[in-house]
Symmetry: C2
């Protein structure tokens, strides 16, 4: 039998790097007066990707997420990312571990 | 003179509601085999908006963010949001409080 696995949940928060123009953030800021909202500044719009990884330990799971974040979910020229652990649960019976 | 103000930083995490189709998440899942990544499931792609609010207290700041999140940053039919406090600092001299 294979090693027992667990399901690790993560979020990857991808945001524009400091200094990189963020047109979506500027669009939000320009909309604020129309909503009557004052005092909001520095709006930056990025992506949040939530996912689950089935793996034998937290370190292996995090390595997979870091690879995914750097190679698929973010553009390293313009964006930075942070990986956030959201929790873990035992894997359901029959779930395959991450390769 | 007006009340002293502080700058409160927040993130608004907007994600597709459970049960709502997420084509971006499915596209990520379909890309995984090409990257040789296994064991990743339940990918959901949303937005992360980071911003700063100048206000007299944390409660007032959070109320502004909740309004912004519900009225501008998310589509309440298809999306849910969470507000995450990222920290606070004294406001620079001359900064106006949120209205």
């Amino acid at each position: 039998m294979s090693e027992p696995t667990r399901v690790y949940r993560f979020a990857v928060n991808v945001t524009p790097k400091p200094g990189i123009l963020d047109p979506q953030g500027k669009a939000v800021e320009r909309s604020l007066p129309h909503l009557g909202i004052a005092g909001v500044t520095g709006v930056r719009v990025g992506r949040r990707v939530e996912l689950a990884v089935t793996a034998t330990d937290a370190e292996a799971a995090r390595a997979i997420v870091a690879r995914l974040a750097g190679e698929l979910l973010s553009n390293p020229l313009m964006e930075q990312y942070e990986v956030e652990a959201l929790g873990e649960t035992p894997a359901p019976a029959g779930a395959g571990a991450a390769g």
